[in-house]
Symmetry: C2
Subunit: 874 residues, 2 copies
């Protein structure tokens, strides 16, 4: 039996999208539920694939099936192709399984010939209308199927109008139109060296081939590459008998959404034009009316349309985007599909559909794209105020949100200004760890250098702070304290505004609107929490981060990086004193100064977190990060510290490393300088004991040892921490419980996880560093070749943004498995940017982790992603 | 039933070393084979452990077993402890399972008391001898058991001698000796507040306890830590009835080896003293005679001794180290053990024992410590000439061998001098990649900075070149061209000599002797080759390396690093031109200049290797390694290249990386600059085709892609290489076969090896980089904390020296397994320093690799290690 290449609409249904394309399947479905759809047929996507297999030719079998089905269509409509009395006219449209712009345009009125046009005139009693349709069809066919430049037809038309002194097309007479048809056919012949085809069947086959060819035009290929759509799936072609919205005052055409696509409000939303075809609505020459006006023009049709829209939404159980035409008082549905909407609308519609009983909570949760929540979680510019703003430059949208403030060119001055109560924007060539406090107190960060993974970008995203990075048209002079863009020079204290979601930089201030989780958003988050199995924690180093994260629903802290506290201006002096110590005693002296400050940090955090768990990581970065490197700063430090410059330089020299990423950091510091780890353990335990008693809660501190690669490292440090903790407990007469765990972020730790688990109460996968070491990519340096790799197709996504499940993920799975062999109930989470990435979160869910931890502003994204992962993998 | 804590010698045997200690077990064994051994008993190592368990006390049970066995010993000897006519005297010696210096000294003549001394006098008819023995015993017992300072006894003795104007001990009369005994007992009382014990049983128990205590003295603990001997195993105590070598002219004592321990010659080798005790031989007051002289003194005893030595060697099937005593014409054996020997002796003895039928070839192969071959594989100083040399400094023994030459302070001048035919020593503060050629042409390298893993050390070991590194007492002034050591200043052209095995630096020149594999060494290597399953290849970048390796038995090249060829002075200019190119066309121009040079390199290599396989790796290091970094060199380069300094600096800046180890290198270069890979592929294929035809052999080039982490990388580059190779083959009308494989050196490659194998004809594990990434250790930086880790016991060995089997090894195993799932017969080897480490080689054998590749001078070590691995794991 031969394959079925062609389906009448009435033979298909909505489940056949991959065969009939989205448009075709939905037209079939509408017929199945008895909605008024002009009959038609669909040539399948498989026919497209076959077309290419045959060297861009329609096989005889496909051609004969098209012809057979045309005959059936003629029977259905009672019209005949090319008939001199009642000709069948059709539209031809492409329709792939996935909505895909960039492919062939629609052809209307196919079937018109010198004979059929007369038949159409007779049948409609409107000769002018028939010839107007004919000349439009010739132009469209020539343009779309044979690529005859459109302007050639337009010139001919303008010619006639000029000759007759017409201003509008409507002034053309029937005779004019007949002349134009002659001219157009001549153009067609001159361009193609063939006559304009007078057999509708031939017109149709040419149109079908054109649609298939358009599947591989440059725009379509680019689009598919961009959105990861396979090139092999092909497109279908829909051939539908014409209905005319331009057949007089009882005809019309329109588009509508079953709900408001901006707000989600449950009210049909759309517009229409009477006596018009679809292209007139799009062209924008006449202003369409809002859909409710249809109630005044044709109340019965309006009622029928509202009823139909309702049926469609009920049937598809989702907001629909509908096209319709009214022909001489009769309503026809031409298309329905799931409607595109804003995140706000998506949330409201989903929540209300649950309340209406239309969909389940699971479905509601599954309908929201987690990444789309991002736009709701950062300050935004007030839409009205934004209209008056002038964009002066565009950089990389490095960290989303909107910010307005006075520009400052050093971290110190930015901090000072913040303390005076000013809103500030930190403007730097590029940032370094010493700028952390300046970044933290500013409203936004602008850098002229660096990419999406530069220090500024990474830290800003971590802080949930607006950042525009690598804005190369801005010249930043940190000495003169100016930023120059073209002719414009801004100086310290001038206002600018940044949009971290677009990369736009504006001159002057713009009002911003703060984000909040409430209404439908809040409701949907509640439901997500009901479904998800993964806990959601946050990476928070400061009380401010912690508060923000709790507001967004974080259930604990998964990673508190204690080193960020070391950079604060008030304590960096003591930290540096510790680093340049000659011996343990000196170092311990300096650490004694730091202890009360660290304790206070932790107390503040514990107060905000209350009984929620908080994992605090011991010092991680190499010590040289805390020491200045340029001449001037060294001289200053030498004065402050009363230490000779030469000695300082020696120390800086001795701390230098070729590959700091793989150097003396993490637990390696704690082992070579145990006094640092002891100080930190003491600060954590003292803080927990004091806050537990002050607030009358039971805090169970989680102390995390970073960068463990061998079980012996954790064994030694576990002993050291326990010794310190027990001493503090004895001093304070406390029976505090505490946990000691480790980051799993080194490949060796993954493959020897069964050994390490023996000394760990919990694990937290540090997938940032694990990705660096598993791939051998330095995050600071890999930008260059990662983008090259994406271009060549070696990498599909940046493995620092979404976890590489095949490689890095395999190590994580191995580690979980080995660890659970030893401790089946061990608590295992993940911190690092992957904790906020939906695809990664689904992977972590499947891997059996207990929680993910992400930056505060990713918490809602993570909650939703975790819920979707749980539902998908039930 | 109670445990047996004490064994009579006649109850034990050689297999009980862990219970009876080495000495005790061998004494038992000698009795079993009817050799004349004075009877005795052994208190077991378990008794030692029990002693510590009891809080450093002998349990009643142990004491009573000692006493019971003493009684049996009295019966055996017919003597009685403390007897007034025929007293039993014993020696007490420690004896652990593992030979271990640093423990308790021997106590002789235990059992002497005021009564027994008279009995001894009666029995021997020599009162003076009896009292002389008594005073020696008191001193030894006081010193060894109770730590009474020896000098106190010596003073008392000297006192009597002075008073009597004696010059020698032999002048002391019996009465003098009796007085001395009184004085010694008084010293004992004054020091210990107790009387010198007059019950032999008590003396014995005190001595046994002292031996057990000495197990945990500081020296012993240090020794065990150093040699990885468990602290828990304890020592045994041997109590043996005394025989006297100092009972007149028919008595004597000696030590001997069954073969010459320096040369391995099969001839008993040793020395003896008549009328002396063991300590006299050691003390060196009298000069002992060589063992063959015994034939003149006591021919029958000599014959018996030679016979006994022969029996022992036949019985133990190994060269023995024997102690003996002759008491009044009767021979007694006091100890036998496997004799320590030089590598040369070990080889000769092993080979000759096989020829004698004493041991099998397998045993011979197993007897040689692979690492010991090292001393035979490098030039050595002529022993006679060395005697006259003056050492002026000691640095780290960074790369073994001996070298003599004129000093030069820059690579350029060293190269120039070598071209003039001078033997040179390159002296630098530290070396950098730019010094490679200077290092290569010099005889040896001396640096004043850097450790065992500094650039100089690593590269020198790779080259098999003598290097003394981090010689901090030498001040190197590269500007003035002087090296200063204390008062001595040496200038350019002065001679020095280096011993890379000891770190010694000598002033002046010393003759050197070149290594060769011949004689017994050669024979043993042949046997090793019969047993081993692993192939042995070499890492060789130059024809010189390749020749050396073949001489040492390499079967192919496992790693040829093409970048080393880039540094040669004649081509670095073209390489730099390539790097600073603005576009592909410029770069291709520069590459065109490099192509013929690279081709010539490969042709030379292929000519030397003949039909042996050679794996050539594409460019690996980041490009910035080829560009100078200091101001002066940049200015010079700018002139040479006619490129503005600012542009050069921009390029250098843009190439800079935070973590070059994880940066833009390896196949990442080949993908971003495909023209480089194309040039290299062309050079390799052209060279192979030309040499195949010139030499009429079939070369199958193996082209290796470094640093692959994703299968897509190899997929893309494989295609590129094939395309180039096929083009060359067409041009040259050749049907050359070639293989394309990859380094497995990134953790991700290991865990996705099933994917990568699809595009690889072979694998070579790059365990250096794999170790760096699996541990997260930068080899350039980790020195500091690796040594700290070894001290704390976190690392047992440096994982860069011996592969970490648990972690890195697990990834290798996984990769082998996954790769063989796809290609069961794929050829897999290992390159990197682990390829020359015996423990690592055994691991690679077990993992099922096809070959190991190591530096030329490790090839014999690898051959032997591979054979031992095969024999052990049969």
């Amino acid at each position: 039996m031969s394959k079925k290449w062609v389906y009448l609409f009435k033979e298909g249904n909505a489940s056949q999208k991959s065969l009939l394309g989205g448009k075709g399947a939905n037209l079939s479905e509408m017929i199945n539920i008895n909605l008024p759809v002009p009959p038609g047929l669909t040539v399948t996507t498989e026919a497209c694939t076959e077309f290419y297999r045959q060297g861009k030719k329609l096989s005889d079998e496909i051609i004969s099936q098209i012809e057979e089905n045309l005959t059936l269509l003629e029977e259905q409509t009672g019209k005949k192709f090319g008939d001199e009395n009642n000709p069948l006219l059709v539209s031809v449209r492409s329709g792939a399984a996935v909505s895909m712009p960039g492919m062939m345009d629609t052809i209307l009125n196919l079937g018109l010939t010198d004979i059929a046009v007369e038949g159409m005139a007779k049948k409609t009693g409107n000769t002018r209308f028939a010839y107007d349709s004919y000349r439009r069809f010739i132009q469209m066919f020539g343009d779309v199927v044979l690529s005859i430049p459109k302007y050639k037809f337009d010139h001919a038309l303008e010619n006639i109008k000029e000759k007759n002194n017409y201003k509008f097309d409507t002034e053309l007479t029937t005779e004019d139109l007949k002349t134009i048809v002659q001219r157009f056919k001549r153009i067609y012949r001159d361009e193609t060296k063939t006559e304009f085809p007078q057999e509708p069947e031939k017109q149709l086959l040419m149109a079908v081939e054109a649609v298939f060819r358009s599947w591989n035009n440059a725009r379509a290929i680019t689009y598919r590459n961009l959105y990861d759509i396979p090139h092999s799936i092909g497109t279908a072609v829909n051939v539908q008998s014409m209905v005319f919205g331009n057949m007089g005052d009882t005809s019309g055409t329109g588009v509508a959404f079953t709900r408001n696509p901006s707000t989600g409000e449950k009210k049909v939303f759309g517009e229409f034009l009477m006596n018009a075809q679809g292209e007139d609505v799009v062209a924008g020459i006449r202003t369409p009316l809002t859909i409710d006006k249809l109630n005044e023009v044709m109340p019965e049709i309006y009622a029928q349309f509202i009823e139909t829209a309702n049926i469609l939404e009920q049937h598809y159980r989702d907001m629909q985007d509908i096209e319709f035409t009214i022909e001489q008082g009769k309503l026809y549905m031409l298309q329905t599909r799931s409607g595109k909407r804003t995140t706000e609308a998506a949330l409201r519609a989903a929540v209300e559909m649950v309340e209406e009983g239309l969909i389940s909570k699971e479905e509601a949760v599954m309908r929201i794209e987690p990444k789309s929540l991002d736009q709701l979680l950062h300050p935004r510019f007030d839409a009205d105020d934004l209209k008056n703003a002038t964009a002066i430059a565009v950089g990389l949208p490095a960290s989303p949100g909107a910010a307005t403030g006075k520009i400052y060119f050093t971290a110190e001055e930015s901090v000072a200004a913040s303390l005076r109560g000013e809103a500030t924007i930190l403007v730097r060539k590029e940032t370094s760890p010493e700028d952390i406090e300046g970044m933290n107190t500013s409203k936004g960060i602008l850098t002229s250098r660096g990419g999406m993974t530069s220090h500024a970008a990474v830290v800003a995203r971590g802080m949930g702070k607006c950042c525009v990075a690598g804005c190369e048209t801005v010249y930043v002079d940190e000495i003169k304290k100016t930023m120059v863009v073209g002719d414009l020079t801004l100086t310290e204290g001038d206002y600018i505004s940044l949009d971290g979601s677009t990369g736009n930089v504006y001159q002057g201030s713009i009002k911003t609107v703060e984000p909040a989780i409430s209404g439908a958003f809040g409701k949907l988050m509640e439901w997500a929490d009901e479904f998800r199995k993964l806990g959601i924690r946050t990476n928070a180093d400061t009380p401010k981060d912690a508060s923000a994260a709790i507001k967004f629903g974080a259930e604990g802290i998964g990673l508190c990086r204690t080193e960020h506290m070391f950079f604060e201006e008030s304590r960096i002096f003591s930290v540096r004193k510790m680093i340049i110590s000659d011996n343990v005693t000196q170092r311990e002296e300096a650490l004694k100064e730091i202890l009360p400050m660290q304790k206070n940090d932790f107390k503040q955090l514990y107060k905000i977190m209350g009984p929620r768990p908080a994992t605090i990581r011991l010092l991680d970065p190499p010590l040289h990060e805390f020491i200045p490197h340029d001449e001037e700063d060294i001289i200053e430090l030498s004065k402050e510290m009363h230490v000779p410059i030469s000695k300082l330089k020696d120390i800086i020299q001795s701390l230098q490393e070729f590959n700091p990423m793989l150097g003396h950091r993490g637990c390696r510091l704690a082992i070579t300088y145990p006094e640092i780890a002891r100080m930190q353990a003491r600060a954590i335990i003292e803080a927990a004991i004091e806050v537990s008693s002050e607030e009358n809660i039971d805090i169970v501190p989680e102390i995390m040892v970073p960068l463990v690669g061998k079980k012996e490292e954790l064994e030694v440090l576990r002993e050291l921490i326990i010794e310190t903790a027990e001493k503090v407990k004895e001093e304070k007469n406390s029976d505090l419980k505490y946990l000691i765990g480790t980051m799993i972020e080194i490949p060796r730790a993954c493959v020897t996880s069964d050994e390490i688990a023996q000394y760990a109460d919990f694990y937290s996968f540090g997938t940032n560093d694990l990705t660096q070491m598993t791939f051998g990519y330095s995050r600071d340096d890999a930008g260059k070749f990662i983008s090259a790799y994406k271009e060549v197709g070696i990498l599909e996504v940046d493995p620092f943004q979404s976890i590489d499940q095949v490689g890095v993920g395999k190590l994580v799975e191995m580690s979980v498995k080995l660890g659970k062999q030893v401790k089946p109930n061990m608590h295992m989470g993940v911190c690092g940017e992957h904790g906020g990435d939906p695809a990664s979160i689904e992977f972590f869910h499947k891997t059996g982790l207990s929680y993910v931890s992400c930056s505060p502003f990713r918490v809602p994204v993570a909650r939703l992603s975790a819920a979707q992962a749980a539902i998908k993998n039930k």
